[in-house]
């Protein structure tokens, strides 16, 4: 007997537990298998690029916090680097070290969030998620101590950082750096060898190397395919050329590799922070830059290796106090180009896992 079947369309999102915000996927399903997928963006569009054109250069920094809101520090840094390139500002040594420490801590905390929500997507009932949040809390405490807020830090300034660290920061940071590797190993034990976790992620959602480059993927998504491309190494900004660290890469480019690259990157970040702690000099933390800075006419592209990938700011100046144009290169938006290739043919459950392995933030995609 031949049963008549027909594909149906399921709108996943914009309100759905696993869409990491307000993302919507129009999925055509055959039973449980995904036949077609169309991502729909824009539910969190706030027009950041347009808003940036009406604010002074320093006033854009709080806006960049709100792009990838789990990685505000690196967003700050990318924007600030672009403006500094444009205005040719020299940043004091201590500020550079603080920037590196902050962005590496931010990377750890963002990766903790991504791994946590990824395990949640794969069905662990909130346990690893909350473990990750517990560790993140220790880092967020440090950020809170330095800049007074827990999510939207607004710490980097054009020509340095907003203020020097308090006295109790470095001892607390040393404690955190000493404490975290053990915990990371523990979570490694919890997940990386779990047979069910492996079954759900190994070989699922493979992104081939060539496709990864072609779609402009960056960050852990690109590195999981085996390409050693990390802007901290390949185009060292700030003072990253002074530190010794490795670029963890995957082999297959599947969900498990993306997860595992993130896990290893946290270890590397701790290494960088440890080195920075040894080298950090004293001195001023901010160059003498006026509050309303007027960079010369021109354009500059500043980019950093954010937790999700290459965060770039293309700032065009017309000599005024506000950027003439400020384009944001959102890594998650580029990475999502590969979502179709990776998820077609897999089941709905895999779709959620694949989507979770990108660790996207909608604030960054919709802007």
């Amino acid at each position: 007997m031949q049963l008549r079947t027909e594909p149906y369309v399921l709108d996943m999102g914009p309100v759905h537990p696993s869409t990491h915000g307000v993302f919507r996927m129009r999925v055509t399903l055959d039973g449980e298998a995904v036949l077609n997928l169309e991502p729909v963006f824009g539910y969190l569009h706030r027009g950041v690029e347009k808003l940036a054109e009406e604010r002074a250069y320093s006033g854009v920094i709080p806006l960049t916090d709100r792009l990838d809101y789990v990685a505000s520090m690196t967003n700050n840094l990318a924007y600030v680097l672009a403006v500094e390139k444009l205005a040719e500002i020299k940043v004091p040594e201590r500020a550079e070290y603080l920037r590196v420490i902050m962005s590496e801590l931010q990377r750890i905390s963002a990766h903790l969030v991504s791994i946590g929500s990824f395990t949640n997507d794969s069905g662990c009932y909130f346990t690893p998620f909350l473990y990750m949040y517990r560790e993140r809390e220790k880092i967020v405490d440090l950020f809170d101590m330095v800049c007074g807020q827990r999510l939207l830090y607004n710490y980097m300034r054009i020509g340095g950082v907003s203020q020097d660290i308090p006295d109790e920061f470095l001892p607390a940071l040393r404690k955190v750096v000493k404490h975290l590797p053990g915990r990371i190993n523990e979570y490694d034990r919890l997940l990386s060898e779990n047979e069910i976790f492996l079954a759900r992620t190994k070989g699922v959602g493979i992104l081939p190397k060539e496709t990864a480059i072609n779609i402009g993927a960056s960050g852990p998504v690109l590195r999981s395919t085996g390409i050693e491309w990390d802007i901290r190494k390949k185009d060292p900004y700030s003072i990253y050329d002074r530190f010794d660290f490795d670029i963890p890469t995957g082999e297959a480019g599947d969900c498990y590799d993306r997860y595992y690259v993130r896990l290893q990157e946290m270890r590397q970040s701790i290494r960088i922070v440890e080195q920075a702690l040894k080298q950090i000099p004293s001195g001023p933390v901010k160059a003498d830059v006026p509050q309303l800075i007027r960079p010369p006419v021109g354009e500059a592209y500043g980019h950093v290796e954010g937790p999700t990938g290459e965060v770039g700011f293309h700032v065009v100046s017309d000599g005024g106090i506000a950027p003439y144009r400020c384009h944001i290169r959102a890594p998650s938006l580029m990475n999502l180009t590969g979502l179709y290739d990776m998820s077609v043919g897999w089941k709905v459950q895999d779709l959620i896992v694949i989507f979770g392995s990108f660790a996207i933030t909608m604030g960054e995609i919709d802007r």
Partner: protein, 161 residues
């Protein structure tokens, strides 16, 4: 799923969760238990020092949201007199740029954080509210104030290792 290692991975994971079951909990019961917040907290209840302020309006110019409204008139001895000074905290993004910009250290971020209001109009802070003595000043960008505030509770110190 291939049990190449006979489910050892699952067993390891179970041990990890059991260890965490026995660890002390880090959650605080909020309204009863409160942690000390950072000395540099950027609460958006701005605190204003009436005596130091010269009415230059730098804060208003720097505010990315444009929510600081300041009106001045020339008073005696050729000084500005601040007639009205309003901050609509409903639009404030607590970025702290106004405090950093203030050349006379007359503006402070607030140390308070329980700022819910029933009416939107109540969110607009007026001149007198901001100058009120009851408000605690935060140490954001004001190291001398930060020293007077209690030390922040850190999870790393509470949990130890």
């Amino acid at each position: 799923m291939k049990f190449e290692r006979y489910g050892r991975g699952i067993a390891k994971g179970m041990v990890v969760t059991m260890i965490n079951l026995l660890r002390p909990r880090v959650v605080t019961q909020y309204p009863e238990q409160k942690l000390t917040i950072s000395q540099r907290t950027r609460g958006n209840e701005l605190v204003w020092d009436k005596d130091k302020c010269t009415g230059c309006g730098t804060c208003s110019k720097t505010c990315p949201q444009g929510v600081i409204r300041i009106e001045t008139s020339v008073g005696d001895e050729n000084k500005y007199f601040v007639e009205s000074f309003e901050v609509d905290t409903g639009y404030c993004i607590s970025c702290g740029l106004c405090v950093e910009a203030c050349p006379y250290d007359a503006l402070f971020m607030g140390y308070a954080y329980e700022l819910g209001r029933y009416r939107r109009g109540d969110l607009v802070l007026t001149r007198d509210e901001m100058a009120s003595e009851e408000r605690i000043r935060s140490g954001y960008n004001r190291p001398e104030v930060a020293e007077t505030l209690p030390r922040q509770t850190l999870l790393i110190e509470r949990e130890g290792d």
